[in-house]
């Protein structure tokens, strides 16, 4: 926990310094537009197809005005015209406009008549800003927290050690007392009776009852452990394989709060939840080419960007030229949740009909950097849920009649899946 707050503090500093830097650079620029306003306009209108420093659907826009002026000798008026109605400019036979049009696969830029010249000035001011050099990461390893934790552990050891010493002292004390008393006895001439003690093991062996009890105890406890061992065979709870692409559910489902079923769409209608095909990834990742969120030592920005590159390689996306190469390689994901062949499980039954949250079975996936099997996926686990969960029957025409009859039979209003017949073998095994 401490580590996290520390990180956030760092981020806070970063942001503060960024703002200060930005403020300075604004004052330095000699444009008449307002870059801050321009930024928000840019994000609202342009960012779908343009980035400042990277060619996307449209060209990179950093210093665009200057570049146009240098390349084609065009002024701001031309830019106004282009943004207000690019198709018109192309039609008018403007050489530069047609060049751009052809260069970008003959996709015309959407017209933005709603942007006033002032707005465009603001945007241009924003684009004319100097590129931010990423501030040297103030990556001070957060060791203090760790130390604290370690200290805590040590203190535990200390107490234990102290206790141990105490016991040792006690034992020594007792021994000394015994020895002193014997010496006193010897001095006083008292004859201590020498008892013939049988050794402990012999006494134990002679006590048949004790032997029996011990044997039974040993047998029972070993049976317990053997049973425990056998029952965990094939149960892969916590299975967390390394995937060919490090896909962070934490970033997607957690930080960005993407609905599970956006990617796993077949969970609504099919027995399988479906691993999204790469074209689904590319829906977003065509424009998200780098990671901008929180990082840590293990998972740096470079690391995440590398993983996005892996996606591009698999999908056959040429990021530099913004086009598909057609050379794709399917990704061989490692399947985490494996039900045996003899079990039939249908996602749509649970997701669509019953409205069960994905997290009920899959755990807090939105917090998992690497997904792991959350539930044991044993039959007992399934049955437990079927016994206790009420079936969502409301407003479902299918259940109307059955609900009426069954609730009369069992004398309850809410029915569990077990009462619906969900514990019958053949419902899942065929």
């Amino acid at each position: 926990m401490r580590q996290v707050t520390h990180c956030r503090l760092n981020m806070g500093f970063l942001r503060l310094s960024l703002i200060i830097l930005l403020a300075f650079s604004t004052s330095l620029s000699a444009q008449e537009g307002d870059p801050a306003k321009g930024k928000s306009l840019f994000n609202a209108n342009c960012a779908a197809c343009h980035q400042l420093d990277k060619k996307m659907t449209g060209p990179a826009l950093r210093n665009i005005e200057e570049r146009i002026a240098n390349d084609a000798g065009l002024d701001r008026e031309w830019i106004y015209a282009w943004i207000h109605n690019s198709a018109g400019v192309i039609k008018s036979g403007d050489a530069y406009a047609n060049k751009i049009y052809n260069e970008y696969g003959q996709t015309a830029m959407t017209a933005f008549p709603q942007l006033s010249n002032k707005d465009i000035d603001d945007i241009l001011a924003y684009t004319a800003q100097k590129k931010e050099e990423p501030a040297p990461a103030a990556a001070q390893p957060a060791t203090t927290g760790n130390q604290n934790q370690d200290g805590f552990a040590i203190s535990n050891d200390l107490i234990l050690g102290a206790l141990g010493i105490l016991f040792l002292l006690l034992a020594i004390g007792l021994y000394m007392v015994n020895k002193t008393l014997r010496r006193f006895a010897a001095v006083k001439g008292i004859d201590l009776p020498e008892t013939q003690r049988t050794p402990l093991w012999k006494a134990f062996a002679q006590n048949q009852f004790l032997v029996l009890v011990t044997v039974i105890f040993l047998l029972l406890s070993s049976a317990y452990f053997v049973y425990g061992y056998l029952m965990q065979i094939g149960v892969d709870q916590g299975y967390q394989p390394v995937q060919p692409i490090h896909f962070s559910h934490k970033i997607h489902a957690g930080d960005n709060a993407i609905d599970c079923k956006y990617c796993h769409s077949s969970a609504r209608v099919s027995k399988t939840s479906g691993i999204p095909s790469l074209n689904v990834c590319m829906n977003c990742h065509k424009s998200i080419y780098e990671y901008k969120g929180e990082t840590s030592l293990e998972y740096s920005k470079e690391f995440y960007d590398g993983e996005i590159k892996k996606l591009y390689a698999a999908a056959g996306w040429d990021d530099a030229n913004q086009q598909y190469t057609g050379e794709s390689t399917p990704v061989k994901w490692v399947r985490i949740h494996n039900l045996p062949d003899f079990v039939y499980f249908n996602h749509s039954q649970h997701v669509t009909v019953a409205g069960v949250e994905c997290q009920t079975c899959h755990g807090p996936v939105q917090e998992m950097e690497i997904v792991q099997q959350f539930a044991p996926l044993t039959m007992g686990w399934c049955i437990d849920c079927h016994r206790t969960t009420n079936v969502k029957m409301k407003d479902n025409g299918y259940y109307k009649k059955i609900h009426e009859e069954l609730s009369k039979k069992y004398g309850v209003d809410e029915l569990t899946e077990a009462q619906m017949g969900g514990l019958e073998c053949g419902k899942c095994h065929y």
Binding site: G234, V269, Y398, K427
Partner: protein
């Protein structure tokens, strides 16, 4: 007191001179154990590199390796699409309508695909006029995943590219065009408007082109007769649903006669409604599926059939014919004639005699009767072959007149009786190209093999019946480097257009008449305007037509009937057909509905003739059937064929199935039977034959050895139409009681029950009704069940041990007497022990036959559930008897306690096991498996689940939509596959459903009702129309 009694262990010991007994006194085995064979040769033993020590090392290592490997769970990869096709959702099935037209089977079907791979063929209910999907069509999906398909075009055995093939062939064709030598296209019947147009264009391009259509099993004489009378080369179509009296002379119209597909109409007329049903009289020599379903069956040799047909003509139409028939037969013909006349336009005559005159006579009788059953508006186009043209071609090829031969869909080196002539002719041609999916007998001999795709990977169209069109569309991308015949022809005539566009063009200009192509493609079927148009004209011309036919044909027919001591009728089995699908393990293991024998063809012979020729069938110690071999000689061609003694086979006749004995392009396991095409001389299915006993004993894989019900009345209940109409249902559908305190009580009595009831009144409660009147025993349901439920193929040896895995079997029972009732009375009256053998032997002459599909009866009080020690089989509220395979430990108690013997035990692992090298043993074949049903492993029991995966899916669909399930939505694989409406499945708690009617029907009964199992499967009493006039 010592006794002189001699105790003996085997019959052999009673024979005092037996050397075996003497030998056994000294030795454990009669024969020496051949240890010397492998231990005698010391040199080779020494030379062997594997020493005992090595062997132990290997054993130790592999044991350790296996146990180590078992510790680690497997890593399962999951590979999604890169770009997921819009229409595919993993886990959800898509259906495509398409059409099979392989030259033998023509039908409109639906193809179920999962994740882009076809896994099942279903009926296309929009296209019932095009004939239903029979067992072969259902099984044809396995052909797609056949591991022995030709995967690339080949030139003389080595792989070449399509470009090479195209260049070679086009050059050759052009040079032939210049030299003026003939180019021949030898093809199957396509019945395809687009292909016809394409071939016409091909002819135009290359000039001297001859197109010969060749049907392996010829219907040529019927085509000729129809053409002579009606001017169109087609087969007459019959709609038996309109029939009141059906007289068939040697026509197996419930089998493959005229391409099949008549069974659904027939079944409609067979269900008694308002006290009426059709009457069906069959004259035939082999016991066919049709004869088995007839009300009256008269066994007759083929030559007698001709006379019978001629006489029938004379009795119905008039005129006189010469010829002698046995008195009883003569009487039967007379009665048939009078019934036909009485039925008038609702009567119909059909014949399977491949003779121009016979077919003409039939057309004339039907014309005379003005039969409504005879559907002149929509003749069948699925056979176009001409025997004469094929014969001429073979002669021309032999004479070296043919420059190039291009074949598609035919296998003449297998199917021609004079295959050697064809082989010789093939060598004389300058170019031979075989379009084929297999390296079969013919394509292996051709210069080029042009690898063709399966019909599920192709485009196509077919006009199955006049005006009834079907479209073929690919349901999967071609698995191999194949190109279909039409696509290639387009290339060869230099047209740069895909066959898909070509079809679209043809349909747009001449078929669709403005209707949208995509709709036709979606439906898979299109009924053209032509069908209705011609109907108008024919009905108009009918009225004017009143002339009496001359009767020449009948006289000629009678004169042509020459009897021989023994006449052979070649037929096709509903399982194997013409033999195209011989590499299909489902069809090989499919038991013939009549003989119940799988993996074989055989000579069927009457008991009388068999006794005369010393041919015998016997049951050997492991309970299986063995039979003698016979040498069958036709015109100097001799085949060694195993013999089955067939009850009901006409004396003086024998039968043999075509389609077996393939030798190339198929796995060794499938090389079964003998090639009867060698006897199919002059394309005549009737041949004079001599049969003699020869050495050896054949081992059959027959799944039913007990032929009669030995008088047990509650297996198949049967009655006559007369009794059905006049008597109360208790008389003909008697419910047997059970004895309680020495009194008979009904099985419904609570004292008759040792089980506690289940409450099945809430939710769904599934029942299945099987109408024994509508069921013809065709077996489409059996294959559909295999396909849906991943039922494994076990092979001939295992079937012989009765380890077949069929979840659904169709029992066939013979009855020696007119009714089963009589049989029961006999049992009571005859002395003890005698009746059983007598009944079995009595049934040999002319038995009545009944079919009964039996699957798990899903008893409400299931004996199997009670005895399972691990509760692996249990009951559900929906009426299904569940079987949890993973829980089963394989005690087989359940199977032993099942009164219906429907449980199957996995004696072996049938998938990924080289010992069972069928479709489940290769990656390609396993693609057909249904992913919703588990593939069972060794040592577990399995059985019919009443397609719980299908009922559960239907329920889930309704839940997702938030609606109730409609009647008709619930289906099992078998009920969905039944073309005849014999199987009705549904929810009895839905009071409006069709199944409720069936439950309340007077004809309803349960199998072995007195056992008290209260099954959820019910049967409808079989009613036979025995009304003689």
């Amino acid at each position: 007191m010592s006794s002189n009694k001699k105790y003996w262990k085997s019959v052999e010991e009673l024979n005092e001179n037996s050397s075996i007994v003497e030998a056994l006194k000294q030795n454990e085995f009669v024969e020496e154990i051949p240890t010397d064979e492998f231990l005698g040769n010391k040199d080779s033993l020494r030379a062997s590199s594997t020493t005992r020590r090595d062997f132990l090392k290997y054993v130790g290592f592999s044991t350790a390796a296996v146990s180590l490997a078992a510790c680690e769970g497997p890593v399962i990869k999951s590979i999604p699409y890169v770009v997921q096709p819009e229409e595919i959702i993993p886990g959800v099935a898509n259906y495509y309508a398409t059409t099979i037209a392989d030259g033998y089977d023509f039908a409109s079907v639906l193809v179920k695909t999962r994740e882009g791979r076809p896994i099942k063929i279903e009926r296309n209910t929009l296209a019932l006029a095009n004939g239903g999907a029979n067992a072969r069509v259902n099984a044809s999906i396995l052909g797609l995943y056949d591991s022995l398909r030709v995967q690339n075009p080949k030139k003389e055995g080595s792989v070449i590219s399509w470009d090479e093939l195209d260049t070679d062939v086009i050059n050759k064709l052009n040079s032939l065009k210049e030299s003026g030598k003939e180019i021949v296209l030898l093809t199957q019947t396509f019945a395809s408007p687009s292909t016809s147009r394409l071939i016409a264009e091909f002819k135009e391009q290359y000039g001297n082109v001859r197109h010969v259509v060749y049907d392996a099993v010829s219907e040529s004489s019927t085509l000729d007769a129809y053409q002579a009378k009606y001017g169109e080369r087609a087969l007459p179509n019959y709609d038996f649903s309109k029939a009141e009296t059906i007289v068939s002379i040697g026509a197996d119209f419930l089998g493959d006669w005229q391409g099949g597909g008549f069974d659904s109409g027939y079944s409609k007329s067979r269900i008694p409604q308002n006290g009426k049903m059709s009457r069906h009289i069959q004259f035939e020599s082999n016991m066919s599926l049709t004869g088995a379903n007839a009300d009256k069956r008269v066994p007759l040799t083929p030559s007698e059939q001709k006379i019978a047909l001629a006489k029938l003509y004379s009795y119905v139409v008039g005129g006189s014919v010469t010829g002698n028939l046995p008195e009883a037969v003569e009487e039967a013909v007379k009665k048939a004639a009078s019934q036909l006349k009485r039925a008038g336009s609702k009567g119909v005559v059909v014949t399977g005699i491949q003779d121009f005159n016979a077919q003409t006579v039939v057309l004339e009788i039907n014309e005379y009767l003005n039969s409504k059953v005879f559907d002149k508006a929509t003749p069948i186009k699925s056979r176009q072959g001409s025997d004469k043209a094929v014969m001429t071609l073979v002669a021309d090829m032999k004479a070296g007149k043919v420059g190039a031969i291009i074949m598609n869909g035919v296998n003449p080196l297998y199917t021609l009786p004079n295959a050697s002539d064809f082989a010789e002719g093939l060598k004389n041609t300058e170019l031979s190209v075989a379009f084929s999916m297999k390296e079969d007998e013919t394509s292996a001999e051709a210069q080029y093999i042009a690898a063709t795709p399966h019909y599920l990977e192709s485009w196509g169209d077919a006009e199955i019946k006049k005006g009834h069109f079907g479209l073929t569309q690919p349901t999967i991308r071609p698995l191999f480097n194949t190109r279909q015949f039409q696509e290639t022809l387009l290339k060869w005539i230099g047209k740069d257009i895909s066959y898909h566009d070509y079809i679209k063009d043809t349909w747009g200009t001449s078929i669709l008449n403005g209707n949208p192509f995509n709709q036709a493609l979606h439906d898979g079927v299109f009924v053209g305007a032509i069908a209705t148009e011609t109907e108008d004209t024919t009905t108009a011309s009918n009225e004017g037509e009143a002339e009496t036919p001359s009767g020449d044909a009948a006289r000629a027919l009678a004169a042509s009937a020459k009897s021989a001591p023994l006449e052979l009728t070649l037929y096709t089995k509903i399982g194997m057909g013409d033999g195209q699908q011989a590499n299909n393990p489902w069809l090989q293991e499919f038991p013939d509905p009549i003989t119940r024998t799988s993996w074989d063809n055989y000579l069927t012979i009457s008991k009388f003739d068999a006794d005369a020729l010393n041919l015998e069938n016997k049951h050997v110690s492991n309970g299986a059937l063995n039979g003698s071999y016979a040498n069958v000689t036709v015109n100097g061609v001799t085949l060694k064929v195993p013999v089955i003694i067939q009850p009901g086979q006409a004396k003086g006749s024998v039968g043999l199935a075509l389609g077996y004995g393939r030798t190339s392009g198929l796995k060794d396991e499938m090389k079964t039977g003998v090639n009867a095409y060698k006897l199919y001389q002059n394309f005549d299915n009737i041949q004079d034959v001599t049969v003699e006993l020869t050495f050896g004993e054949h081992e059959f894989a027959c799944v039913q050895l007990q032929n009669t019900m030995v008088g047990r009345g509650d297996i198949i209940k049967e009655t006559t139409l007369e009794i059905f109409n006049t008597e109360h249902k208790e008389h003909w559908n008697e419910k047997e009681g059970v004895s309680y305190d020495h009194n008979e009580i009904a099985t419904t009595d609570k004292n008759a029950d040792i089980w506690l009831g289940y409450d099945t009144s809430i939710g769904h409660h599934f029942n299945l009704s099987i109408d024994l009147n509508a069921c013809t025993g065709c077996g489409a349901c059996v294959i559909a069940c295999h396909s849906e439920n991943n039922v494994p193929v076990v092979g001939k040896e295992e079937v012989r041990k009765f380890r077949d895995m069929h979840w659904l079997r169709i029992d066939r029972y013979y009855s020696s007497n007119d009714t089963f009732k009589q049989e029961q009375e006999d049992l009571e009256n005859l002395p003890a022990f005698e009746p059983y053998t007598r009944i079995e032997t009595q049934s040999y002459d002319n038995p009545e036959v009944a079919f009964q599909p039996v699957m798990c009866q899903h008893c409400n009080h299931a004996p199997c559930e009670t005895v399972c020690p691990v509760a692996a089989t249990s009951h559900s509220r929906q009426g299904q008897n569940h079987m949890a395979y993973n829980r089963c430990v394989g005690t087989r108690y359940c199977a032993n306690n099942c009164p219906y013997k429907v449980r199957r035990f996995n004696w072996f692992l049938y998938n990924e096991n080289d010992e069972f090298d069928y479709y489940m043993n290769d990656d390609l074949g396993r693609m057909v498996l249904n992913p919703d049903v588990v593939v069972r492993s060794r040592g577990v029991m399995e059985k019919c689940s009443m397609c719980i995966q299908k009922t559960q899916k239907t329920i889930l669909d309704a839940k997702r939509d938030g609606r109730e399930v409609k009647d008709g939505e619930f289906q099992t694989a078998c009920s969905a596959a039944c073309n005849n409406g014999a199987m009705v499945f549904g929810d009895v708690n839905n009071k409006d459903s069709k199944i409720v009617e069936k439950v309340q029907d007077d004809r309803m009964y349960h199998l072995l009702e007195s056992v008290g199992t209260k099954p959820n499967v019910m049967y409808q009493v079989k009613v036979k129309n025995t009304t003689e006039s």
